[in-house]
């Protein structure tokens, strides 16, 4: 996995709450058996005026001029500023894959849906929870200033604005460790292989029916 330590980038504001994963990447694109290539279809139904189909050349499609990522100033954004309960709905990891493929590295919101939040970390994407009033303030600043950038430091757990204001954020220790070092967490878990085997052995004694074969 790609490591994440520090990132500075243009911020795009997505001003609606409860953005669900169907909205982030509609189902027709879930038919792919790959992990990459979802970027052109990120927010497909909001971004384009026509109905998106897999394997289509997105550069030929009519853009919705009102959608935030279609505005010139946000096209190269890598920090997404969002509202509460971002990423609710389906567990599809295609949602963080699409955000990542578009170029996002950080998502800031007052709250995230649990599964989506978790999926981000597995893909080198950092979701940051900041208080509602701070998020409000960032929305105002982004809209007021062309080229607005934020600097995110995972080591220090801070978000710094262009004017020098610093906000700290919380992140779970294990996730932070994996992300900072770009660790494959399967490898980390397999270091505990003996413990897993010991658990299975004990469980086989107390609840043998759990180990019956399916056939």
């Amino acid at each position: 996995m790609r490591a994440f330590t520090q990132h500075t980038g243009i911020v795009a504001p997505m001003d609606r709450s409860n953005v669900d994963t169907d909205m982030i990447i509609p189902k027709q694109f879930l038919k792919s058996i790959k992990r990459t290539g979802f970027g052109p279809n990120l927010f497909d139904e909001l971004r384009y005026l026509d109905e998106g189909k897999p394997d289509q050349d997105a550069s030929q499609r009519p853009l919705n001029p009102d959608f935030v990522l279609n505005q010139e100033r946000y096209r190269t954004a890598s920090v997404l500023l969002a509202r509460s309960n971002f990423g609710c709905g389906s567990s599809r990891e295609h949602a963080p894959w699409a955000l990542d493929d578009f170029g996002f590295r950080v998502i800031i919101a007052p709250s995230f849906a649990d599964i989506f939040y978790n999926n981000c970390f597995k893909n080198g994407l950092l979701p940051i929870v900041l208080a509602e009033n701070i998020v409000d303030q960032l929305f105002q600043e982004v809209e007021a200033e062309d080229g607005y950038q934020l600097t995110v430091d995972l080591l220090a757990q801070t978000v710094t604005t262009p004017s020098g204001a610093v906000f700290s954020f919380e992140v779970d220790g294990f996730r932070r460790h994996c992300l900072l070092n770009g660790l494959d967490d399967i490898g980390v878990t397999l270091e505990d292989a003996d413990r897993i085997r010991a658990y299975e052995e004990q469980r086989r004694q107390t609840a043998p029916w759990l180990f019956n074969t399916l056939s």
Binding site: N18, I186, I196
Partner: protein, 472 residues
């Protein structure tokens, strides 16, 4: 020391190791797989040269992409080549790694959350995961069950464990007994309306109270299925006689001495009387009416006798904008009666409501009636091949077909419209599924979530109607 909640017990019994940083390794007893969220996980195993940790913990079936007509054509019946590749890839992966799969032509094939319990592959006290958020369904059996992403699918395949942090405990108590015509679906929609789509975020919800105790296992699955729509990854119900009676005799359920041993353990799977919850929500079942969602989020729900809300009445600006946006998308006007909403299509199916009791409920309403002339299509999609066979043995298929509904083959179908079944732009659909997000059932489609009985009533009248007016 206070007693334990059901969630505490399940957690403790699956804890492999607790790490210093607050995370824990949790053992997974059953892993369900389907074609959409697994290909990249198998690919990951291959690239890292890893093998599944324990083959017999896994069970797979294709469901999201499968056609619901012409099943006898098998895989050739999947017209969309991209869908076909995904279904074929699941088959190849299961074959290569040695995982049991109920293939397209197997009568046991169906929606992943329907087939597991049906086969007794899902047992009380287990931990169950699947690359699908509606895995919460299995919590109905006193199980710790939740959806995971594809990286975690790979992690579970490789290690039989998940890295987790313990959630908080929430009890949703639905007190009293709902009136006739008010179903499990109405109960859970009312709960979501009450606590909101983020209300359960960070919590494992246990559903309790008389109304839950009074439900069948299928009803409890409907309730737990939609816990995720209240923001909770996990929904659970304590084990009781209803649970144990349901499991008994299923193909993969334990037998003889193992059965006795299992039942003794399962009987301990309830929250202790002195257990402490971080949050308790009380809901009065007697006040719940048949529910209909009017908006683009499951929390945008009202009783069938209610009105579409007026954004002007909402003081919170973000919520007001949300309501305005939803009304625009749904093509509805503020303050119109819910019963004035007309339907173009009706969909009875999905992992929320495609089991035999759901189909019986719908059939009872349409029996001797006809689908309204203004409804373009009404379809019934059973949750599995076995549900289909059972319904046919009871003659339900004939009732549906005589009333003008289509009787289909099992799969997810129009719940998320990855196969050929979808809504046209602007069409309103009465749907027994679980998500009414924009575009969920087709580009520009408008979904209203309801119970099977309410969907059936809408099919025969062409608009929403209180099903109790037709049946009592």
């Amino acid at each position: 020391m206070a007693g334990k909640t059901l969630y505490d017990k399940l957690w403790d019994d699956h804890l492999v190791t607790q790490r210093d940083d607050g995370s824990a390794l949790i053992y997974i007893d059953r892993h369900l797989l389907h074609e959409v969220t697994s290909p990249q996980a198998f690919e990951g195993l291959r690239l890292a040269n890893r093998k599944p940790w324990r083959l017999d913990a896994n069970l797979a079936t294709p469901d999201h992409n499968v056609p619901t007509t012409d099943r006898d054509k098998g895989i050739d019946g999947i017209e969309d080549p991209v869908s076909r590749i995904q279904v074929e890839t699941l088959g190849e992966n299961c074959e290569e790694f040695g995982i049991l799969e109920f293939e397209l032509m197997d009568q046991r094939q169906g929606i992943v959350h329907v087939i597991g319990p049906e086969q007794g592959a899902i047992l009380p006290g287990m931990t169950v995961v699947c690359g699908d958020s509606h895995t919460s369904t299995h919590g109905a059996f006193g199980i710790l069950a939740h959806g995971i992403g594809t990286s975690e699918v790979e992690h579970v395949l490789a290690t039989q464990c998940l890295v987790q942090k313990k959630m908080k405990n929430m009890l949703v108590r639905i007190n009293g007994n709902p009136g006739p015509g008010v179903t499990a679906k109405d109960l859970v929609l009312a709960v979501i309306g009450e606590i909101g789509t983020a209300g359960g975020s960070g919590y494992a919800i246990e559903f309790g109270g008389d109304a839950i105790r009074g439900l069948s296992m299928e009803g409890r699955m409907t309730v737990c299925n939609m816990a995720i729509e209240a923001g909770a990854r996990v929904g659970m119900v304590a084990v009781d006689d209803t649970t144990i009676d349901y499991v008994k005799g299923r193909p993969f359920a334990p037998t003889a001495a193992q059965w006795e041993q299992a039942v003794a353990y399962w009987r301990t799977l309830h929250s202790d009387a002195d257990a402490v919850f971080d949050k308790v929500v009380d809901i009065d079942a007697t006040a719940i009416k048949p529910q209909v969602t009017w908006g683009t989020s499951p929390e945008m729900v009202a009783g069938v006798d209610g009105l579409v809300p007026d954004p002007a009445d909402e003081s919170d600006p973000i919520k007001r904008e949300g309501i305005e946006r939803a009304l625009k998308y749904m093509g509805l006007t503020a303050n119109m009666p819910i019963t004035d909403i007309k339907l173009d299509r009706v969909f009875i199916g999905s992992c929320t409501n495609s089991r035999i009791e759901d189909l019986r409920e719908a059939a009872a309403v349409v029996k001797g009636r006809k689908v309204a002339a203004t409804v373009k299509q009404a379809m019934v999609v059973p949750g599995s091949g076995l549900v289909k066979a059972q319904a046919e043995s009871e003659g339900l298929d004939k009732i549906f077909v005589e009333a003008g509904l289509e009787w289909r083959d099992p799969g997810c179908s129009m719940c998320l419209a990855m196969n050929a079944d979808k809504l046209g732009q602007g069409e309103h659909c009465a749907s027994t599924s679980n998500r009414n997000f924009e575009g969920r059932q087709g580009f520009g489609g408008r979904t209203h979530l309801v119970s099977p009985a309410m969907a059936a009533a809408a099919a025969v009248t062409g608009h929403f109607v209180d099903v109790r007016e037709l049946t009592h």
